[in-house]
């Protein structure tokens, strides 16, 4: 069977073409074949397209021979658009492949070298049973040896007592200003914590227009305060190799009896019901002062705080070095840290104190609302701390007194049979 070739174009267009020929003796299929068959259809199409493109380019450039390739949309002519001196895409890709190969080769050789080294090391390898003698990597902790006590910067327990914090802040303020006045660097404020005597307790901080002045009293001087910070006295306990004379001093101070080291308790103390005279003996031997109670310390703190000029709270801390040194010292003494967002806007000691000493969060909402003084002055607002019952509602309406009067008249209980007759 004769193969009918494919025809380009729609059937309707083809039919119209056939009708135009007006030759009725030849059959439709043959006429169709004759009119539509063409070997140069693609090239004709291409020529048509390129002539159209050429005409358009001529019109755009306004010349007969516009620059650039004739058909800019043809992929085969991409190479002609290259700038001279620029490498082609193929050369770039080739060079990349070459580089990649070289890189892989170098990596492979490195790996081989590393493996060889590891093999050599593994020849002399023996697993150890403990970590003694092994190299320690990444351990930054200080080596603790006998007689060397590690003390961190901040205390272990954070101070919760308000008065302690106030005293610590006052101390920090005094010390910072004392170092300034003495011309010493502020970095030395946290060098030493003296626990025997605190000279800053007897110092008043008075802010003035020209600056802050320190008022010393009760024997305290600027040198005492500064020396307390700069000097770092070492106790005999912490010394690694004490001398003979220091050993003697320690022995004198020690409470143990070298002749009878085990007999520490007194026989009288062990008795369950000591007699009067025996109680006196115990009291005489005891080191506790009956006049000094635990409440005595509390009173002393508040007395100390009351003795200071209250203007010390208005001391300015706008100087950043001063503020930082004060906060560093307070942190060292109390263990309390303030957030950076709270530090930056604080300009006075009072503001710092408000961040250091925070009142405990109230458990009940009524306590929190009670702290808000503004709510008390709003006339249409009523806040109660107790649940409002029906009794309260009747009382508010004014009916309850009538109810109570009637119940009393009838001799009936107000709140039930078992409860006492009491009006709220």
């Amino acid at each position: 069977m004769r193969r009918i070739p494919r025809v380009n174009g729609t059937p309707i267009a083809l039919h119209s073409r056939i009708i135009r020929t007006s030759n009725t003796s030849i059959c439709f299929a043959c006429r169709l074949q004759a009119t539509s068959y063409s070997t140069s259809t693609e090239s004709q199409a291409k020529e048509k397209q390129s002539s159209f493109t050429q005409g358009l380019r001529k019109r755009i450039w306004g010349v007969d021979n516009p620059p650039g390739p004739e058909d800019p949309y043809s992929t085969s002519q991409l190479g002609e658009t290259r700038v001279e001196g620029e490498p082609s895409v193929d050369t770039i890709v080739d060079s990349l492949e070459i580089n990649r190969g070289e890189l892989e080769r170098s990596k492979r050789s490195e790996r081989q070298q590393e493996e060889k080294q590891r093999e050599e090391l593994m020849k002399n390898y023996e697993p150890s049973n403990s970590w003694d003698g092994l190299e320690v990597i990444g351990d930054r902790r200080p080596q603790l040896t006998e007689g060397n006590h590690y003390s961190g910067f901040m205390p272990k327990n954070v101070s919760e007592d308000t008065e302690e914090v106030v005293i610590a802040l006052h101390r920090a303020v005094v010390e910072a200003h004392a170092l300034r006045q003495a011309g010493q660097p502020l970095a030395g404020i946290s060098k030493n914590i003296a626990t025997d005597v605190d000279w800053t307790v007897n110092v008043n901080v008075i802010p003035t227009a020209s600056g802050t002045t320190l008022e010393f009293s009760q024997g305290a001087t600027l040198d005492d305060v500064v020396q307390q910070l700069i000097a770092s006295p070492k106790s005999t306990i912490d010394v690694e190799a004490p001398t003979e004379s220091q050993e003697d001093v320690e022995a004198d101070r020690s409470t143990e009896d070298p002749l009878h080291p085990e007999a520490t308790e007194d026989e009288v103390n062990k008795k369950r019901y000591p007699t009067e005279s025996e109680e006196d003996v115990v009291a005489d031997r005891s080191r506790e002062d009956p006049l000094e109670t635990s409440e005595g310390t509390y009173v002393r703190h508040s007395e100390i705080i009351a003795s200071w000029n209250p203007a010390w709270l208005e001391t300015s801390v706008e100087d950043l070095d001063l503020k930082f040194s004060i906060l560093k010292r307070v942190t060292q003494l109390t263990g309390i840290r303030i957030a950076d967002t709270a530090i930056q806007p604080s300009n006075t000691v009072k503001t710092l104190l408000s961040h250091l000493v925070k009142p405990p969060k109230p458990d009940k909402l009524i306590d929190a609302l009670g702290d808000n003084q503004a709510l008390k002055h709003i006339p249409n607002l009523f806040i109660t701390g107790k649940k409002i019952t029906s009794y309260d509602r009747q009382t508010m309406l004014g009916r309850q007194k009538l109810i109570d009067a009637e119940l009393t008249k009838r001799g009936l209980p107000l709140f039930g049979e078992n409860r006492a007759r009491t009006l709220r």
Partner: protein, 140 residues
């Protein structure tokens, strides 16, 4: 015939001459223990003062209601009450509910079928069987 005026009894319209706020009292109930009352507690700590100052004509009562969900109850002039449970709501949502109760009257919530109420005459006239567009209708 003498022209006579239509006798119409005067009816009060709230807001035309004077405006009377229908809500006379708002009660806020909270709980210190329940977790659903967290938003209410925060609202009372932060927004209550502003809300009370902004509405001086409303009596505001705050009281605990232990072991219960937080509720806002509104009392109205017509003697009715409306309560909204504000459990697990944020303070902004609670404020919204408080404003809703403040702006409401004590009427029951009804489905509104005809949203327009007017005393004006109907524009197209009332239907009658005797008149049809384009003529027609009943002939009597």
């Amino acid at each position: 015939m003498v022209v006579q005026g239509i006798k119409v009894a005067t009816t009060g319209r709230n807001g035309v001459g004077a405006f009377i706020l229908q809500c006379k009292r708002l009660e806020f109930f909270y709980c210190d223990w329940a977790g659903s009352s967290k938003g209410m507690n925060t609202f009372l700590r932060t927004n209550l003062q502003k809300f009370a100052k902004a509405n001086p004509a409303i009596e505001i009562l705050v009281s605990p209601r232990p072991a219960r969900h937080p509720v806002i109850r509104g009392h109205y002039i017509n003697g009715r009450e409306k309560a909204i449970c504000v459990k697990n709501m944020k303070e902004a949502q609670i404020l919204q509910k408080a404003e809703l109760l403040r702006d409401a009257n004590g009427e029951k919530l009804r489905r509104v079928v005809k949203p327009v109420k007017s005393v004006n005459d109907s524009v197209r006239g009332i239907w009658s069987p005797y008149h049809k567009p384009g003529g027609g209708g009943m002939h009597v």
